[in-house]
Amino acid sequence: MTRSVSGARWAPAALAGPGAAFMILAFVTPVVILAASSFLDTGKQLTLAHYWRFFSEPQYLVTLWNSLRLAFYTTLVAILLAYPLAYAMATLGSAWRNTILIVTILPLTISVVIRSFGWQILLRNGGPINQSLMALGIIDEPLRLMFSETGVIIGLVHVYLPFMVLPLASAIERIDGRLEEAAMMLGASAFRRFIHVILPLSVPGLAAGATLVFTASISAYVTPALLGGEFIQVMPTMVAQQVLTLMDWTFGSAVSVILTVVSLAVLVVHWAFAARFTNWTSRAEAAK
């Protein structure tokens, strides 16, 4: 794809220059300064004290654990909901496919403030979910859905489900339909066809989607703040609290760095596995 257009040495610099200069000024510099300030004490001396403080206080470790746990559950639920959607998109024909696609994409274009507002109405004590469960006699008193872990997970799944559905659907669509037919003719049940054909062949899409959902939900600020309130402290809400309420910028910066590193680590693991998987499949292709 890449080729050099004759003699135009200056062209890439002229084209990339403005964007690069802008990003260095408006994005890279602020982030680097923030990261650097997490290693400084009040006298501008190098120190690891902020990191030491984070990792020695159980209260902060609980926050990190909350973030990891919520991101894990969100990813798990997103996978469970995305498989039927993605499978239906690949098998039920174009009317279903387009409907699923539009409904999946639509919420992405609507502010997370509005979506959380909708969930607040649905999840509150006198809300429709609690009222219908009580009317059906399933529960005697309202479940605590707002300001609870369940509420935050529901909200996060709603926000990030599209990131799971879209890569998974494109992976499942690429699976050769004859493989499933062959398994069916050999007498495999729907469950076994899913476990032995669809699931293993959709792993690349699953991994890509799971990585996106996990890193996005561990970084999410608005949904935990609106649906969890003060009750569910996660890393992003802790950053906001340290900086905006407690005015502890250096510790807030250290927490920011830890959050960014955790989320990047997940991405790096995914890239490493994705590269290995691509090598493996291209070798398999070559061997054919």
Binding site: V5, A8, A11, P12, A13, L15, A16, P18, G19, F22, M23, A26, F27, P30, V31, I33, S37, L81, P84, L85, A88, L92, I100, L101, I102, I105, L106, T109, S111, V112, V113, I114, R115, S116, F117, G118, W119, Q120, I121, L122, G127, H158, P162, F163, L166, P167, S170, L212, T215, I218, S219, Y221, V222, P236, A240, V243, G252, S253, S256, T260
Partner: protein, 268 residues
């Protein structure tokens, strides 16, 4: 094969339930916006459109909307220009530091929004660039640029190189071949990219929250303030209007470039 028909029915039922889950928060907001009572009930006991009139009277809402339109209206074309030129450099040329450039342009996607927000607050405050719409516009360009770059690079990679060769042989200069060959190929990606950039900017809360003050409040920030302070359906009415606006934008972009492209744009 009644077993297979039954399984198909179960699959459709499960899919319908999940789609209902996705739409439910939007549906309840729209239905509650028509409640007549001055406390938001779902479902409402009696219906009225009065809240659609009352949002016009709310203090500061018009200014917040004007700020949002101004910020997104300026950030979007800036993001289009910077994104397209950077994408051209990446897709067309070999040069030292290309991976670094690519990584830098896409990095706002991997740094948590809250971290970007406080980093910019700290930096812009230290260089006295805060409390203006300029800092907000700069922030919105930075966080939307990756979407623009990614979309345009993807469509440039599909460009027919022989067309460019032909244009060159016919004596077209760089600007002519851009205007007559490249632009027609990438204009629909630029269009979808621009719609998404506008939406991402217009809906942004996490980063605007840090950079705004009383005079630069954006619509999402003002709405959240009202959601937290009011118990009536006024914000449901405003939210419903914005939901309708999003549906219209989604229809327009689907009509313009096809559903597949719109999906790829949002696929993360």
């Amino acid at each position: 094969m009644s077993g297979s028909a039954g399984r198909l029915f179960v699959l459709k039922l499960v899919v319908a339930a999940i789609l209902l889950f996705i739409l439910s928060p939007l549906i309840v907001v729209i239905i509650s916006s028509f409640g007549a009572a001055s406390f938001l009930y779902f479902p409402p006991q009696s219906y009225s459109v009065r809240w659609y009139h009352e949002i016009l009277e709310l203090d500061g809402l018009g200014e917040a909307l004007a700020n949002s339109l101004l910020i997104s209206g300026i950030a979007t074309p800036l993001s289009i220009v910077l994104g397209t030129t950077s994408a051209l450099a990446i897709a067309r040329y070999k040069f030292a530091g290309k991976p670094a450039l690519m990584a830098m342009l896409l990095s706002p996607l991997v740094v948590p929004a809250i971290v970007i927000g406080i980093a910019m607050l700290q930096f812009f405050r230290s260089i006295d660039f805060l409390s203006t719409l300029h800092s907000m516009i700069a922030a919105h360009v930075a966080i939307t640029l990756p979407y623009m770059v990614r979309t345009v690079v993807a469509s440039l990679e599909m460009e027919d190189e022989s067309m460019l060769e032909a244009a060159k042989m016919l004596g077209a200069n760089a600007f002519q071949s851009f205007a007559y060959v490249t632009l027609p190929t990438i204009k629909s990606s630029i269009f979808t990219g621009a719609i998404f950039v506008f939406i991402i900017s217009f809906d942004n809360y996490a980063i605007s929250m840090f950079l705004s003050d009383a005079s630069t409040t954006t619509l999402p920030i003002k709405m959240l303030e009202f959601i937290e302070s009011r118990t009536d359906p006024a914000m449901a009415a405003l939210s419903s209007l914005l939901i309708v606006f999003s549906v219209v934008l989604l229809c327009v972009s689907t009509w313009a470039v096809g559903l597949k492209r719109v999906a790829r744009m949002s696929g993360g």
